[in-house]
């Protein structure tokens, strides 16, 4: 079959079926992207939001609930308590000012949702509880706000590449995977909110999260920070896919020999060393508590029920599933305005580095959700300001379509490795406990050699093949771009992981199992064909906390 050249050529010529011009383009329709769009509108911008799936159901939040920071600004005891509780988990890399800023913005946004009419959980006295978001309800509610705010939404419209004018982000182009049409959006500023990646590990709600935005940003020259803090794993029932463990605070966990274990690293060790780990939700001893648990974590219990498991009465086998960089730490390096190192390119949510807020991690769902909506607001407002400064001249700029690997091959030939080959290679390295939960120098080095050779091959030869219809071709091109993005992400992660010979937070090395004070710094990485890594000292705010 021929390579999908015609679609890539259309995109290269800028001959789009749909052409739009806007002040701010938001890429990604999860909570961070939707908040970015709403904040940009609030700041006076016209906004287009494009989403690979459907804005309002896309992303990991679609599949369950999440806790979120809801701490009143005039509540110093609770605020300080949260900061005090959180900072030791950051392993010296967080900055208290960023945590406080996130608490404030998260609170403000949840209050805004209340004004908009969001229906919060209530207790039997009618009192509301705003520190937890029901995933599917929240997403569809935010979509309704987008529609009210007259945000132009393009669903099922994956980005294929950024448009750049003289080093400044100027829009994006892509395909509609349901029609096969191409689209291009010229924008004065761009917000990337495409989330992290679980490397298609199968965890619920993560199929769309293939790290595409990382690759788009890197092609424009953006830098990453903390990519080594991305070894995020979470408990799921064995054979199931919902990696949520909120109910396990009421559970007893045991290894395969019946010895009691704790959640987290001990669970992984039990699976590795004794063959399995088990759970029973036996600390919910009365019907009222069980009923509350079942309702509060309805998603979790529904999945268990359909697996034929009664978690209150039987010991059931659990697994730890790879979430990769989703609700982890590492991502695009950002400044106070959520600007990336590329002018005109802003970022929000899981795609950004959360080191300033959670350090080396783990952040967990609550902080990640708070960060998503807070950083979304900041990025949207910043992008709007950037667009205003550029003015109408923004739309007369000459732009280049900068997508390369997976989209536009260097040579007119088909790659010797396929999309499936690349995906398998990345997964073999990024999913198993013995490769990515526990990393090691020799494994990282070997993987990087293999990844580099695969990257060079898909850079030179085309990865996507033509389909029977325009729609099939668009889907094939998307799959190729996704595979390239996952491979690139695995390279940034493993390059930084190799440069950190210690164990800290969400980065574990079997050959360096202890924290080493000599490595209390950030690691910045970037590059597409040649990956580089360098050290950056921790911020003054983080130092003040550490001392």
């Amino acid at each position: 079959m021929a390579a999908v050249q015609h679609l890539a050529d259309h995109l290269a010529r800028g001959a789009y079926d749909l052409n739009l011009t806007t002040d701010v383009l938001v890429i990604g329709g999860g909570p961070a992207g939707m908040w970015a769009a709403l904040a940009a509108v609030e700041a006076g911008a016209r906004v287009v939001l494009v989403e690979k799936g459907y804005a309002g159901t896309a992303g990991p939040l679609s599949s369950a609930n999440t806790g979120i920071y809801y701490i009143k600004p005039d509540d110093p005891i609770h605020r300080d308590g949260m900061v005090t509780a959180r900072m030791p988990l950051a392993f010296g890399l967080a900055d208290e000012r960023w945590l406080e800023r996130t608490l404030d913005q998260s609170y403000a946004n949840l209050e805004t949702m209340t004004r908009w009419g969001f229906r919060w959980p209530k207790n039997e006295l009618g009192q509301e509880f705003r520190a937890r978001l029901r995933g599917p309800d929240t997403l569809i509610f935010l979509r309704k706000q987008l529609v009210k705010a007259q945000v132009r939404i393009l669903d099922h419209s994956p980005v294929m590449e950024l448009l750049v004018s003289d080093g400044v982000a100027a829009g994006a182009a892509g395909v509609n995977r349901q029609t096969g049409d191409t689209w291009g959006v010229r924008a004065a500023a761009v917000v990337l909110a495409t989330g992290g990646t679980a490397f298609l590990s199968g965890v619920a709600g993560t199929r769309g999260n293939t790290g595409d935005g990382y690759l788009f940003a890197a092609e424009a020259g953006a830098e990453f920070s903390g990519m080594e803090f991305t070894s995020q794993y979470a408990p799921a029932p064995y054979g199931g896919v919902l990696s949520r463990g909120a109910h396990l605070q009421y559970a007893t966990l045991t290894d395969n020999d019946g010895n009691e274990i704790t959640r987290g690293r001990k669970t992984v060790e039990a699976i590795q060393n004794t063959g399995a780990a088990w759970a029973i939700v036996d600390k919910a001893t009365d019907d009222a508590t069980r009923d509350m648990l079942r309702k509060t974590h309805a998603h979790i219990f529904l999945h268990l029920e359909r697996l034929g498991i009664d978690p209150f009465r039987e010991r059931y086998r659990i697994d730890f599933r790879c979430e990769g960089s989703i609700r982890a730490v590492g991502g695009l390096a950002i400044d106070d305005d959520l600007a990336t190192t590329v002018p005109g390119l802003f970022a929000a949510g899981d795609i950004t580095s959360k080191e300033t807020v959670v350090g080396a991690g783990p952040p967990g769902g609550g902080p990640a959700a708070a960060w998503a909506i807070a950083s979304g607001s900041w990025a949207g407002a910043s992008a709007s300001r950037f667009a205003k400064r550029l003015g109408p001249a923004a739309h007369s700029r000459a732009v280049d379509a900068i997508g390369r690997t997976g989209l536009r091959a260097a040579e007119r030939r088909t790659s010797a490795v396929s999309i499936a080959d690349v995906t398998r290679s990345v997964q073999a390295e990024m999913i198993p406990f013995e490769r990515n939960y526990w990393r090691s120098g020799p494994n990282l080095e070997a993987s990087l050699v293999r990844f580099a050779s695969e990257w060079n091959e898909i850079r030179d030869g085309a990865l996507a093949t033509d389909g029977a219809t325009a729609r099939d071709s668009a889907r094939n091109l998307l799959r190729a771009r996704e595979a390239a993005a996952m491979l690139a992400t695995a390279r940034w992660i493993n390059t930084t992981a190799l440069a950190r010979p210690e164990t800290r937070g969400l980065h574990r090395r079997s050959d360096y199992p202890n924290l080493d004070p000599a490595h209390e710094h950030h690691l910045t990485t970037g590059g597409v064909d040649e990956i580089w890594v360098r050290r950056r000292p921790v911020s003054a705010g983080a130092k003040a906390i550490a001392s």
Binding site: K52, G53, Y54, G56, T57, A58, G59, S62, S63, N65, Y70, K72, D75, I77, H78, G81, M82, T84, A85, R119, P121, K122, N123, E124, L125, Q127, E128, F129, A131, R132, R134, P136, D137, F141, D155, H156, R177, Q178, G202, V203, A204, G205, T206, R207, G208, G239, G240, V241, L242, M292, L293, K295, T296, A298, H299, L302, L304, R306, L307, R475
Partner: protein, 135 residues
């Protein structure tokens, strides 16, 4: 993964085609959508939630489950159970009145030796729940 689209129940509204974030369904002219790309399903169960007539069934497994039998699923009453569990009805969110998160988060006091969390707990009870002795 998505396992069933019960054609007898489906009204052909194509909402699942539109809202599925991984583009699993294909619309068909004048009929029920097809499950065209089961392998892309990521088990978020969003299609079940948004279906106005409870015509979809998603298995909690990440692999296709050949044992799923339409007649048995229909007879079991499991269709629509996800909507019921979340307080949704006819594909629309129904609010969270039956979601007692307010109690679950704060009902159980932390270990008294954990001073930080005990303090957080007491402040939370006073500031956010307002069910203390003076309430």
């Amino acid at each position: 993964m998505i396992e069933l689209l019960v054609r007898d129940a489906c009204i052909g509204c194509d909402i699942c085609v539109r809202v599925c974030p991984t583009d699993v369904f294909d619309a068909t002219p004048g009929g029920a959508p097809e499950i065209a790309r089961q392998e892309d399903c990521h088990t978020c169960m969003i299609c079940e939630l948004h279906c106005p007539v409870d015509a979809l069934y998603v298995s909690p497994r990440g692999e296709p489950d050949p044992s799923v039998d339409e007649a048995a699923i229909v007879a079991s009453g499991v269709l629509g159970s996800y909507q019921r569990a979340l307080g949704w009805k006819r594909g629309m969110p129904g609010g969270a009145d039956d979601d007692p998160g307010v109690l679950i988060a704060f009902k159980r006091p932390p270990d008294p030796s954990d001073k930080v969390r005990t303090q957080l707990y007491e402040v939370s009870m006073r500031t956010y729940i307002d069910v203390g002795p003076n309430a």
